[in-house]
Each structure stands twice: as C-alpha cells, then as structure tokens.
Symmetry: C2
C-alpha cells in the first residue's frame, strides 16, 4: 500500500479509531442486552456463547494495536470473566487501552508487513481491519442469539 501520486487516500488513523470505538460501543450494548446466565450459556448450532466471543474481541483488540504500534506481539493474559460485570469491566479496560495506544502507531506501521503473533503475515492496516471485521461478524451472531431469546438487539446503526 505505497502511496503514489495517483492513489486516493481515503481514511486517516484518527477516523478509523473513531469508527472502531463506535463499533465497540455497540458491542458493549449487545453484551449488556444479554441476561446474565444466557450471556455465558446460550448457544445455537454448537457455536460459542456470546461471552466467549466478546472475550475473543478482548484478546484481539489491545494486543493487535500494541503489536502494530510496537512490533511486539504479546498474547492477552488474564482470567476469563465469570460475570457480566467482570466482562464489561474488561471491555472498558480494553477500549481505554486501544484509545491510548492507537494514536501511537507510527504511520509506516499501517502499510508495513509484519507477522502478527508470529503467525499471520499482513500489513498493520490488514490486521486492524481483521479485528474490526471479526467483531462485527461475531456480534451479528449475538444478534441472532438475542432474537432467538426474544430480546430486541440494540440498533446496528447507533454507534455513539
């Protein structure tokens, strides 16, 4: 993704962070919408309960931003949350870390190829978009869980 005189640059780092944090606010509301027990147990078709999907987003978010910023790839470490309150606290901690670290990503790291977590070769922007897309994808799964439970999910277009 080398910028050339004819390339059209259409997104800056600040806007992408804002876009992601809007999605994260929506995901937080989806976590909140689950009844405490269903959050950790409800499943369709053998898929993971929404608490595990949300934990996956936590395991990806800060470590990816840290890795793209620094080139140092560290697995998330911590205990899996056992209550909705614990999950939401981890969520907020993760959002704060992303907010703090993202602006420190040097410009060249977005286009520079690296091996994320020693495994996935991609430019920084690719890994970050993957994290966002993965959150949207599995959150969509959470919408079906909520509907199957007879619960109206938060509006998809509301991001503030």
């Amino acid at each position: 993704m080398t910028a050339t005189e004819t390339s059209k640059q259409i997104l800056d780092a600040e806007k992408l962070l804002e876009h992601w944090q809007g999605h994260r606010k929506l995901t937080r509301r989806v976590i909140e919408a689950f009844p405490e027990d269903k959050l950790f147990t409800f499943s369709i078709g053998g898929m993971r309960p929404f608490s595990e999907l949300a934990l996956e987003f936590i395991k990806m978010g800060e470590p990816i931003v840290h890795g793209v910023a620094s080139g140092e790839w560290k697995e998330w470490s911590g205990a899996a949350p056992k209550t909705k309150a614990e999950l939401l606290a981890l969520w907020d901690k993760s959002s704060e870390a992303i907010e703090r670290i993202f602006p420190q990503i040097p410009a060249h790291r977005f286009s520079e190829s690296d091996k994320a977590f020693g495994k996935w070769e991609s430019p920084g922007i690719g890994v970050i978009l993957y994290a966002i897309d993965n959150e949207i994808h599995h959150r969509g799964q959470g919408y079906v869980y909520l509907r199957a439970l007879g619960i109206e999910p938060p509006p998809f277009w509301e991001r503030s």
Copy 2:
C-alpha cells in the same frame, strides 16, 4: 476528514475496494452454502431469510458506489430473485458494477458530506464503510443459520 500535515493516511481507495470484494466473495460462498429452499425460507427468531439479507446487500452496493461517485442517489430496481441461481447472477452483476464504478469515485467525494438516498447525511467513506459493515453483520447472521442447519460455513478468514 481533512488531511493535515500530521494526519496518518492509512487506506487508499484501491485497497478498500479489494477488501470489500474479498468480503463479497465470502458472502457469495455463504449464499452457495445454503440449500435452495432454506436460502429463501429458513429463519431464527423472526429474522429475515438469508436471501433477503443478500438482496439487501445488492440493493445497497452498486447504488451506494454510484451515489458516492456521482452525487446521484438512485434506488436499486429489479425483481427479487426466486432461485439461488438468480440470486448469484444478481450478486455477480453487482460485484462487477462495483468493480467498474468504484475507481471512478473522485478523491474529494470520500470526505465530502452528502445525503445518501436523500436521507442519510455522511461523508462518502462513511456510507461505503456502512455498506461493508452491514454485509459483514448480516452475513454473521447467515453463519448461525447455516450452523443451525448443521452446515459448516465457509471460513471467515478466506477472502479470495
């Protein structure tokens, strides 16, 4: 999204088109994975069958790219597909139109605010990201439908 000397431009139009088309290839595989009848009828929690979600993506894709490119907002017109083959044909037509029109979007239209379809005020990049996010979101719903039907969905990370 005015570029300043300190802003970090991290994505160009060509890369975003490639990213979107990768998602569209995956969505096409999700359509294909449904048995013919289930594609048009299967639902969980009162949500729409996957054929209707895919048609929504078709109604958004080309008209949005055309609107951002030209400032002219036209609703998609056409008959709703009645078979998987018809849906896939519309899908391919839509992908081809996006591939053709997207590179014609003038650089300034990505940041310029406009009222999409006379209703939604947003910069061009916002409307395009919304279309992509909406496809990922509802396709995630399709994954749950497939799992509930005992069908292994195509891998999320495969985009070619």
